[in-house]
Amino acid sequence: MKFSSWTVNPTRRGELAIGPLMILPAALGLCIFQFWPLGVAILNSFRAFNPFNHRPNGWVGFGNYQAVLADPSFQSSFWVSLIYMALMMVVIIPSALGLAILLDKRMPGTALARGAILGALASSEAVAALIWNAIYQPNSGLLDVIFQTFGLPSQPFLTDGHLAVVCIVIMTAWKDIGLPMLIFLGALQAIPPHLFEAASMDGANRWNKFWRITLPLLRPSLVLGLFMTTIAAARLFTPIQILTAGGPNGQTSNIAYFSYAQAFLFNSPGPAAASVVMMLLMLVVITVIQARALRSRSGI
């Protein structure tokens, strides 16, 4: 029996009423907490605000954007954001893949390692940042103590701008590696074992199997992991706030932190909103480039 596109299949009539109801809570949540603030941010980015009561008092066109783009701290934050993204991709994706491959081998201690990695993922970002803050402390921190044990000089982990960026990335990688690792592990376990057997028969060694079979078949999960890491890096805020507060001299401040500082420290909602919209645009551009670069011909 064939139903034309506008005829409702009688067995599915009930779904028509229940379906929208079922998605209503999620749709409402999305509208209230995502789309509404985004809409307000976009509107605010074109407005001027009364500095005393923070109420909008007129339209300034692209004035906020011009002001933000001309601001050297925004320019610095833009480049720092890109550096965070690049570093986090370079650190998290290969490490998560390596860990997933190790866990997939089901060696002794695998369950413990998996628990530890997921424990870090489940921990609060603020708590993790505080723990690492203690680790990075000069003289009394764990890392410095280890350095001293080996007779190495004390390091300015959070007081040197370049080193602080690396320290923030390491802390975030430690905390966030679990999710991409889980995605990669799931994808690894979904590769049919007979493909590797066929590759063995075809004369492939371990490296060939990884490079020619595993990696291409992990492509969808790698792309997903890459997107997630890119977005997480762009939104990076709590570790910066707790470990360095954007310092020293704004060298660890990314656009997210710049927006926060504009909105809550400098009482400039217009430029804050403009910088948020620019961060969003930057994220869209980067993920589109990634999606195009990683597009697959095989449909996998």
Partner: protein, 356 residues
């Protein structure tokens, strides 16, 4: 091409012995089928030949060389897997060339081999497609092509047709047989479908519970099964087994069925001692519906067009008879089934072994 020998091959999985000293030879260029019910160890044995499973005991020789310690890639063997195991992210061309690339062959040679294999299997138009864009039969052909391009010493097939529909299975059966006739590469073919084994193989190895029950040509197995298991496993519909006793009579032995009916066997089975408890094996096509023989009540009549299968009940025991002519038998009819006594088989009721 190469010969393959099994020498007391044993396989244990976590203490359970799944192959219990398998011993047989495959001659150069032969098409040998390993057949048996699920769990008989046939696929395990094939995977051991391939190098995908360790050998617990015994030796496997390929082309005179013991390969127990040799990695799969060094055995010069190609395998066609049950689910084809095509690389889903590679085109047909890439799937076919992968093994040759791994061997470090020159591009020109790879292309030549790919075109050769594609030509043999009719894949010429499909070389740039991905596996998901192919039908089951086409995927099956690519899997075979992947084996052919390597020109290996031995082909292994692990139930390659079980994922295909009935019509395609018959077609591919013919293609594989034809391929073997053309290439004459030593082939070991695992299947649980005895029809596949019968129609394709030069010789068949029947296995059960990790043991070889019988080795022989299809017709040897059909005409002279070594035991009741082989007798009932080979042939479709299965051989009928009637449990009873052989007693002496004026004109030779008489088979006394457990249900009370008896059947003079004439000169047949004269070397079997009277009094022996036996299973009398009668192939369905060797039972004739007529006025004499075992009285039986018809249970089901299954016309297939070319013949009719009649399932009947002889004193509580179901038997199947094949009738070539059109019959007007219906359920509940009382008929008489006379076996061709010159073609009956006799198995010891206790051991199942053939008598005499």
């Amino acid at each position: 091409m190469a010969s393959v020998q099994m020498r007391k091959v044993i396989k244990n999985f976590a203490g359970a012995e799944v192959l219990k000293g398998v011993d047989f030879d495959i001659v150069d260029g032969e098409f040998l089928s390993l057949v048996g019910p699920s769990g008989c160890g046939k696929s395990t044995l094939l995977r051991m030949i391939a190098g995908l499973e360790d050998i617990t005991g015994g030796e496997i020789h390929i082309a005179g060389q013991v390969v127990n310690g040799l990695a799969a890639k060094d055995r010069d063997i190609a395998m066609v897997f049950q689910n084809y195991a095509l690389y889903p992210h590679m085109t047909v061309r890439e799937n076919l060339s992968f093994a040759l690339e791994m061997r470090g062959e020159f591009k020109a040679h790879i292309e030549k081999q790919v075109v050769y294999a594609a030509g043999i299997l009719g894949l010429d138009q499909l070389l740039n497609r991905y596996p998901r864009q192919l039908s089951g039969g086409q995927q099956q052909r690519v899997a075979m092509g992947r084996a052919i391009v390597r020109n290996p010493q031995v082909f292994l097939f692990d139930e390659p047709l079980s994922n295909l529909d009935a019509k395609l299975r018959v077609q591919m059966r013919t293609e594989i047989k034809d391929l073997h006739e053309r290439l004459k590469t030593t082939t070991i073919y695992v299947t649980h479908d005895q029809i596949e084994a019968m129609t394709m193989a030069d010789r068949i190895v029947v296995m059960r519970l990790g043991v070889v029950e019988q080795i022989g040509t299809p017709l040897e197995l059909y005409d002279h099964p070594a035991n009741a298991f082989v007798g009932t496993f080979i042939g479709s519909p299965s051989m009928n087994l009637l449990r009873g006793r052989l007693v002496g009579g004026d004109k030779g032995l008489v088979f006394e069925h457990g249900g009370g009916q008896s059947m003079p066997l004439g000169a047949a089975l004269s070397s079997v001692a009277p009094g022996t408890e036996v299973d009398l094996g009668i192939r369905p096509e060797h039972l004739t519906v007529g006025d004499t023989g075992f009285a039986a009540r018809v249970v089901v009549v299954e016309p297939t067009g070319a013949e009719t299968q009649v399932v009947a009940d002889i004193d509580g025991q179901r038997v199947t008879a094949i009738v070539k002519d059109r019959v007007s038998i219906v359920r509940g009819d009382l008929i008489h089934l006379a076996p061709d006594t010159t073609r009956v088989h006799c198995f010891d009721a206790g051991t199942g072994q053939r008598l005499p």
